[in-house]
């Protein structure tokens, strides 16, 4: 097992105000990035198959949002879901094992990157279907309300997903029933090759909240403090029965949409420009500027994370391949 201890249940104001919180957040940010860089490498060397969607550049959204959640809260995730998974506390070895199609992977090698779920940390699953998780999150939130629990559910999705009917129907249900669900849109400006300028006629996805009568806000998704504070407000409201919120976090993916992307639809300049606004660098810089963390401490986190990832790859690689014996018997759960 190679786990990190992500920042969950932070309650001490902005993340950059507490050394402990900052360290945990940094560990989460770096774990996501290192995990995905490792995956990218394994992929390039032909050691992974299928397809792969990396969230490099977007790590602050998952990390900032999950910092406002407690363990018993739930999330639904997307095709670009490693960040959500890690920020909610998943075991990196089991994630890596899944991507390597191992029997010890989260999905026993049956799901791959797009389907990682982890019941233990409340991750109800990545989803290969754009917007597929949004109604599911709404239903999980309905269950919390019906059971009288104070858990909340976060649904992560992209800008492109907000053009799907599933987004619309789910937000409407959540609004009508005042469910404890937070809709977090990672607006990375593109749905595959389609920029938001082409796919919608509005400036901000948060404008869509008005159609359902739910509060909506736009935040800088590369500013983990901003993300966290918006999430915290929404989570608190939801937990107290105040209903859903739509949060739009503006961010950017450094890599292409997936392995087969030639990046023809955006400019080098745009990419470089966003790299300057990298959420991890930005957060490290802030912590050091504030004298919250030293360069050494930052490097230590980095080093620890790298070792954890190496360990994850090592033990995942040694695990047995996904077994064909249990295919038929796995379609239905036996009562």
């Amino acid at each position: 097992m190679a786990t990190i201890t992500p920042l969950l249940g932070n309650d001490a104001g902005a993340i950059s105000e507490s050394k402990e919180a900052a360290l945990a957040a940094l560990e989460s940010l770096h774990s996501i990035r290192s995990f995905e860089e490792a995956v990218d490498g394994l992929f390039a060397r032909g050691m992974m198959h299928g397809t792969m969607h990396l969230s490099i550049g977007q790590e602050a959204v998952a990390t900032g949002v999950c910092a406002a959640l407690k363990e018993s809260d739930f999330i639904t995730s997307t095709h670009r879901g490693h960040s959500h998974c890690i920020a909610k506390g998943a075991d990196l070895t089991r994630m890596m094992a899944e991507l390597l199609a191992k029997q010890t992977g989260y999905c026993r090698g049956r799901g791959g990157s797009m389907h990682i779920a982890d019941a233990k940390t409340g991750n109800l699953g990545a989803n290969g279907i754009v917007a597929g998780g949004i109604p599911i999150a709404t239903g999980a939130a309905l269950a919390q309300k019906m059971k009288g629990l104070d858990n909340v559910v976060v649904s992560f999705f992209g800008d492109g997903a907000t053009n799907e009917g599933a987004f619309h129907e789910a937000l409407n249900l959540a609004a009508v029933w005042q469910l404890p669900v937070i809709f977090v849109c990672e607006n990375n400006k593109y749905g595959m090759s389609n920029s938001t300028e082409f796919s919608m006629n509005i400036g901000h996805i948060a404008e869509r909240g008005a159609a359902y009568g739910i509060p909506a806000v736009t935040v800088d998704g590369n500013d983990i403090d901003a993300v966290y504070l918006a999430a915290k407000e929404a989570v608190d409201r939801a937990r107290q029965g105040g209903g859903p919120t739509l949060i739009e976090a503006e961010t950017y993916r450094h890599k292409g949409h997936s392995k087969s992307d030639k990046n023809l639809y955006r400019t080098k300049e745009e990419i470089e420009d966003w790299k300057l606004r990298d959420p991890i660098g930005k957060f490290e810089h802030l912590c050091m500027e504030k004298n919250l963390l030293t360069k050494e401490e930052v490097d230590q986190v980095n080093a620890k994370v790298r070792e954890t990832i190496r360990e994850a790859i090592r033990s995942a690689s040694e695990a047995p391949d996904s077994s064909p014996d249990e295919l038929i018997s796995s379609v239905f759960r036996v009562a």
Partner: protein, 329 residues
């Protein structure tokens, strides 16, 4: 068995009510199931008994409704979704097929989706092509879904209670013309296991294999045929997935003749599967005549009453098909 006679709709309602009393995690959601009592009156007074939290009226958004049921099921609830007409499952196919059916397998086995999706199906009410389809073969083809078509009040209560118990998504297709039919239904909570075909009548000349409303129609036909000396077995497939070929093969072995009867259009319909199973052997060796399918025509369901009847198997057609089969034409 009890002597109590109730309608099919009442049997559905009773099953749901009893399950909800027994298990607080069972609830119902769908369009107009509250004060309206359901488009076909199935939920009836459940709203008075259980209140609007557990008999949950929804906006018109089938995809959202099924998705909400999937999410609730994932975290321990047992939702029963009513889709107002089975035709509107088209709106929700992503959540039914890409989510509900696959989650348990695809996500590695820890999570599951104990959801029941009920939908009125079939033609006969003059509601035309978008409100009259029989789409069972879509669902039956999807690994991860169980599919049942209860053919009588007795069947629907027992199968529905099994569906609610089942930790997997189960599609329950209720023929809308059956809702007002009556039959004996015990008051206690009995279960009919999913995945077991039912020999409802035993004869020696031929076997009719049927689903849903065609079961009673075949039984009527068998009755009339017996008057002219033709002795017919009838098997109610009951559970389309998983399918139990046992009684079907037994009867073929005995009678040598098989008629497959469904309301849905013939082409690539469910009965094709049964024909295929038979023709893969060993039952094929018992056939005295080619298999005969008696199915809906390959057309959308028309509005005009005489046309609507003409496009799906009716009693006279079933009877004459049986006679043809026996004459070997």
């Amino acid at each position: 068995m009890s002597q109590r006679v109730i309608t099919y709709a009442e049997a559905v309602r009773e099953a749901i009510g009893q399950a909800m009393e027994a298990d607080p995690s069972v609830f119902m959601l769908g369009e107009d199931i509250g004060i309206y009592g359901g488009a076909f009156g199935v939920s009836g007074d459940l709203i008075q008994r259980f209140g609007p939290e557990r008999i949950r009226d929804t906006p018109i958004s089938e995809l959202g409704i099924v998705g909400a049921a999937v999410g609730a099921a994932l975290v321990g609830m047992k939702p029963i979704v009513e889709i107002q007409f089975s035709d509107f499952t088209a709106q929700a196919m992503d959540q039914i097929v890409n989510q509900a059916a696959k989650i348990h397998f695809m996500l590695g086995g820890e999570l599951s989706v104990p959801m029941v999706l009920r939908a009125p199906t079939g033609s006969g009410t003059g509601a035309a092509a978008q409100h009259s389809q029989s789409l069972e073969s879509w669902f039956a083809h999807v690994p991860g879904l169980k599919v049942v078509m209860p053919s009588s009040p007795y069947e629907v209560k027992g199968l529905l209670l099994s569906a609610i118990d089942d930790p997997n998504p189960v599609i329950v297709l209720e023929h809308k013309l059956l809702y007002k039919t009556s039959g004996e239904v015990p008051e206690e909570m009995y279960r009919i296991p999913i995945g077991v075909s039912n020999l409802v009548r035993e004869g020696k000349d031929l076997v009719m294999v049927a689903t849903g409303i065609m079961v009673s129609r075949c039984l009527e036909a068998a009755q009339e045929l017996s008057a002219i000396g033709i002795d017919v077995s009838v098997v109610d497939v009951r559970s389309l997935t998983p399918l139990d070929m046992g009684p079907i093969e037994d009867q073929i072995r005995k009678t040598g003749r098989v008629m497959l009867v469904q309301e849905a259009p013939k082409h690539v319909g469910y009965m094709a599967e049964i024909a295929a199973r038979i023709s893969e052997g060993p039952a094929i060796y018992s056939l005295l005549e080619p298999i005969k399918r008696v199915c809906g025509m390959d057309v959308p369901i028309p509005y005009a009453p005489q046309l609507e009847k003409a496009v799906v198997p009716q009693l006279p057609g079933i009877i004459s098909a049986a006679q043809e089969l026996l004459r070997g034409v």
